[in-house]
Symmetry: C2
Subunit: 216 residues, 2 copies
DNA sequence: CAAATGCAACGCAACGTTGCGTTGTGTTCT
DNA sequence: AGAACACAACGCAACGTTGCGTTGCATTTG
């Protein structure tokens, strides 16, 4: 039932991304933005299974033939819609300390996974990875690109002496982000207030008791 | 002839009434085991979306009506099938040290997520959590029960002085298991040989550089 | 004009449901 | 004991519905 209850995607609707038809860049239907909006809206509302091409066509005021002429499948359509979605663009932080950066990073992730309407899109998309190889490819690229953008956080930390130079940044990110995913989606437990600082502290300082600490 | 053959025992279909049958086990259709097997097989083969009730009926040599008489939906059927699946029962380890236990635990998880055929079932099931609230409930219970069974690992570690008494065990498990999930499913990267020991070492000792370590 | 879109219909598969007949296994009644 | 019965479970066939993805042809639009 809910109609356009979002309202923040609208602003960037005319972002001129797919508008270059004559020039010959990225092609797409004339109303591609409407189609993408409808796709993400419906994904958020009904999940990946409930997302239907015919539903998208109806909401975006487009014939379903048009959609099929440009994208061969539901996965491809969603992939294209996500590519244009700025909602998942998270700026990597720079707070001055590694702990601060990681806390900001994890906090952003938790927010993305819990705060509607972005959370509906994010959770449904990541959950659909196991169903659509096409989507899986997009998600893989997304994570790879994100990792690249987060690299400076760790470079700075090494420069500050907060991190051993041979540390694997991806492992740290995976530990933190993975814990958030597991907690929110699989365990379906609320994220306590201190989840973020505790997780970061554990990853940085360890949970080991006060026994010996082998120096490097 | 009497024509009251069906439709009146709706109330006692699933749930409470699954008692003694000739087989002596938990009941359902006579060939429930065949049905469950077919369900998990097809799930592994085609994923959650490709899993169809009619496919299960065909493979298990049962009419689809029979399946619908006992389970109202695909999610319910899969939930029932998973309940009987012993493949996901992982014995919590007891190696003598916390590090050893956690490595064993994480190794089991990584194996479960990567080694067919169990991995197909596990990945598809966990991925389907975002699509079926019914399944989500089962998964939540599964994780809760697992956490309970893993508790002794941490109790022993505290007793040995390897872990501060106020440590949150679930956080450690979530960090490790979440990282595995993210690495395997979302990033779709291979798990390196030393992933397990490195992850455990990070969680126990921290990734912080050799600066000061605040002593408790 | 030509490309893009609209439209209507199609075959296909799976959904979930229904009515009715059949099987199998106990129970009861001579 | 053996025939008759009761009843739950099962099979079968068909139904209407939805969504998929496709096709041929008319119409709009730049």
């Amino acid at each position: 039932m809910s109609e356009r209850r979002d309202g923040q995607r609208q602003g960037e609707r005319y972002g001129a991304r797919n508008r270059e038809r004559p020039g010959g860049g990225t092609a797409g239907p004339r109303k591609s933005q409407d189609i993408f909006d409808a796709t993400l809206d419906l994904l958020a509302e009904k999940g990946y299974e409930g997302l239907t091409v015919e539903g998208v066509a109806q909401r975006s005021q487009v014939n379903k033939t048009t959609i099929y002429r440009w994208w061969p499948s539901k996965g491809a359509l969603l992939g294209a819609a996500l590519t244009g979605a700025r909602q998942l663009d998270l700026e990597p932080p720079d707070t001055g300390s590694l702990q601060g950066d990681l806390e900001a990073l994890l906090h952003t992730i938790v927010t993305l996974l819990t705060a509607p309407p972005a959370s509906d899109i994010a959770v449904a998309t990541l959950g659909a990875v196991t169903h659509s190889p096409e989507l899986a490819g997009h998600v893989r690229e997304f994570f790879a690109e994100r990792m690249g953008r987060e690299q400076p956080v760790f470079d700075r930390a090494v420069a500050r002496g907060e991190l051993a130079a041979d540390t694997d940044p991806m492992l740290l990110v995976d530990l933190l982000a993975g814990a958030a995913w597991l907690r929110v989606v699989l365990r379906q437990l609320p994220v306590e207030k201190d989840f973020v600082p505790r997780a970061v502290r554990t990853v940085l300082n360890g949970a080991g008791a006060v026994t010996e600490r082998h120096q490097l």
